[in-house]
Amino acid sequence: MNDMTPIKTTLKDWETDQEVRWCPGCGDYAILKAVQRVLPEIGADPAKTVFVSGIGCSSRFPYYVESYGFHTIHGRAPAFATGLKLANPELDVWLVTGDGDGMSIGGNHTMHVLRRNLNTQILLFNNEIYGLTKGQYSPTSRMGTVSPTTPLGSVDRPASPCAFALGAGGRFIARAYDVSKELPAVLKAAHAHQGAAFVEIFQNCIVYNKDVFADFTEKAGAAMGQLWLAHGEPLLFNKGTKGIALDTETLSLKVVDVVDGDWQAAGVRVHDVKNRAMAHLLVEMPFGPFPMALGVIYDDPRPTFEAAVIEERARASAGKTANLAKLLSKGQTWTVE
């Protein structure tokens, strides 16, 4: 996010005249609405807001938000955003990417934008499939995923976007899913973070990978399947009857039963968004034996890339004048009469 004077807008102000062309029922609609709801709430200025995307279903996003928008090339959105932000640091830049765009062809740029800590919000829509190219398995698809390119099921292990982002040096890691009512709050927290804020949003591709997250997003599995994290609050789920504790022998997490609400007695951990070691454990928690960790997993800002570049430029320029004629005649010269 950027510090700027709040602007009064409504959700309507953030809608463009363009017809939204996602498949009916696509999770992207819910994410678009959540973003358009959050932008007025944070006082964003449409003229100072830029959505930058790569290629894929998710990357059509900029066309539907009434702000500046740049639909770039496959996987490279973080690099475009880096140049844009260095040219004009006052812009509030949102990156919209997907599991193919951000984790496969653009994995390198995802890594470096996080490592550099460019002040931007990175929304990675993870539907575990290539949608726009008609359903091939993606780097986040689970083993055994049957797709046109893997008719017998995929054999390679999936990447975990949040684990990747944390490993790349990300200072803000969060997770949510498309239709969650918590998504706006997560987006707001990402925006409030100074630096690269990485948000993985599980998104239901109803055509090619329908209900792949239903185990924890549907009502039946939500209580056991969702662990919503809040700073300073215990890691409880299933209506407070279960919690996450640390096995100090093996340095791993374990699920414990909480009796009569006495989570302390059960050894349940309190969430600390600045605890990087715990963040690693939480993003790696295997779903099934464990619930899915959702919400803000890690949030510990440090100076941004563009601030460092600006500071360095100021330092290098201090006391110097930009005299081109002088520059050209620098060094050893001679005069011909």
């Binding site: 690099a79 140049g83 932000k85 040219a87 004009n88 390198n108 570049v309 290098a316």
Partner: protein, 629 residues
Amino acid sequence: MATVLESEPEGHTGGSEHAPVPEAVVVRFAGDSGDGMQLTGGQFTLSTALAGNDLATFPDFPAEIRAPQGTLFGVSAFQINFGSTEIDTAGDAPDVLVAMNPAALKTNVGALKAGGLIIADTGEFNKRNLEKAKYDVSPLEDGSLEKWQVLAFDISALTLEAVKPFGLGNKEALRCKNMWTLGLALWMFDRDRQPLIDWLKGKFAKMPVLADANIAALNAGHAYGETAELSGPLKQYHLAPAESEPGLYRTVTGAEAISYGLVAGAQLAGLELFFGGYPITPASAILHNLARLKEFGVTTFQAEDEIAAIAAAIGASYGGHLGVTSSSGPGIALKGEAMGLAIMTELPLVIVNSQRGGPSTGLPTKTEQSDLYQAVYGRNGDAPMPVIAARSPSDAFECAIEACRLAVQYMTPVMLLTDGYIANAAEPWKVPDPASFTPFPVTFLEEPNGPDGAVLPYARDEKGARPWIKAGTPGLMHRIGGIEKNPGTGNIDYSPASHQTMTDARKGKIDGIAASIPAQEVTLGEAGGKLALVGWGSTYGPIHQAVRRARRKGLDVSQIHVRHVWPLPENLGELLKSYEMVLVPEMNTGQFKTVLRDQYLVDAKPLNKTSGQPFTIAEIEAAIAAALA
């Protein structure tokens, strides 16, 4: 012509053929890549420039940073051609070869003129080094160097002796060998040592003992020349300064000139410069130079890869900076898709391609002009883009400014072609006055430009260019991208009519640039005649000298050197048709020749060289003679 020789050898590097005083000399320093030959050459170049000679240089070094010592592939060489007349090439065959070890001798002696002088360090001609250079017997002793004059003495020992008072270790002491050799060379050509002494003092300011040792070695080499003059082939020679226009001069390499030109271009446009780069030989030098010019509003960004480098530059252009990226062939290939996006979104961008031998990794440190097709045609879709080629280090300055002008006035990426030879070579440069260039200030769109307050990012001006809207401008929010768009609003629109209109518009805009560039002039000679030699890029020097010599012999040949490779100047077709024959010398297999044949249906003939080395004047002279025979 040789200066240091008793007999007059064949093959002149320029000037009046029979004058007793030679006009130019070619010296090649060759040694191990750890011997500091590039530094020696660079300092000799500076001394020569300060003495008022015109000059051209050719650094020729291996791709390996520190190749195993003494090996044939580890030889690094630096050639300089200097004289009292106009010098356009680094010279065909050296008059003098300084060989610091057997490998340097073996790989370079073949180029030496008959009767030329070899200066060799016998201290390095030991059994081990001879074996590494694949000599059974020392060439200094077996008579195999008979057609040259050989001056062999133990430079290593003489250097060790000279620096003895400074108590350096053997290895460090021997590092001063190049300064000893340079001292001798400075004596041979009557050069002032003082600028070099000042430079050494500056360079080793923190280690004065090294400065003193190097200066002692330099002085010892110089003194050796003075005492050795009495006997043997070593002679001192004084070349008169070259005649040049009055003014302030310095030496400049292509990489420096491009860096300065980009800064000047951005200033003339009234913009800040954003340079995204990724390390690659030989293009990195531009990034190095610009990284030190932050006070000129320059932001440099070393990206994670070539694609990110151009992407960031395009992002910066979207934010209102002048985006620039630079690379060499393999990196340019990676940038292709992003260039297409810059063409599609119509954002200004300058792409500098320092060409090297290809394909693939090819010859990283050697020169070639084989990326012309890539520059003109090398993108998916109908993706027209202007291409400019610099002909020399000093010309690169103006070319960089011109690239910036076209980029911002036509809202387009522009490719500036240079090559490894231009990037690394140095020549004297009359320092230009930045005020003498016409500014081309950019006007960003600040208000809606359509009816009823509509924003039309793809409306067009009389040149066919769209408005430049800086992201962040109030009231002008819009979306751009790589999908085909509506001709006015820029909204996604891949209807047949829209794609036809936009394809035509993109092509028409670039074609229209031909009207804004100067008409093609005959570089040397007359319009019309028997033979025209048409060149582009760094072949300028050898073509120019070859045509000059041929014309002096009365041959009907002219030189046409093209800067604007795409689109071509409007009159070029007619001009070419005014000659009976058109010959196109290129360091590739005939790329520009094909473009000319395609554009004008002229019977352009190729003259090609792809050895990683520039053309010699003699090669082009021979081709002229053959064509006119």
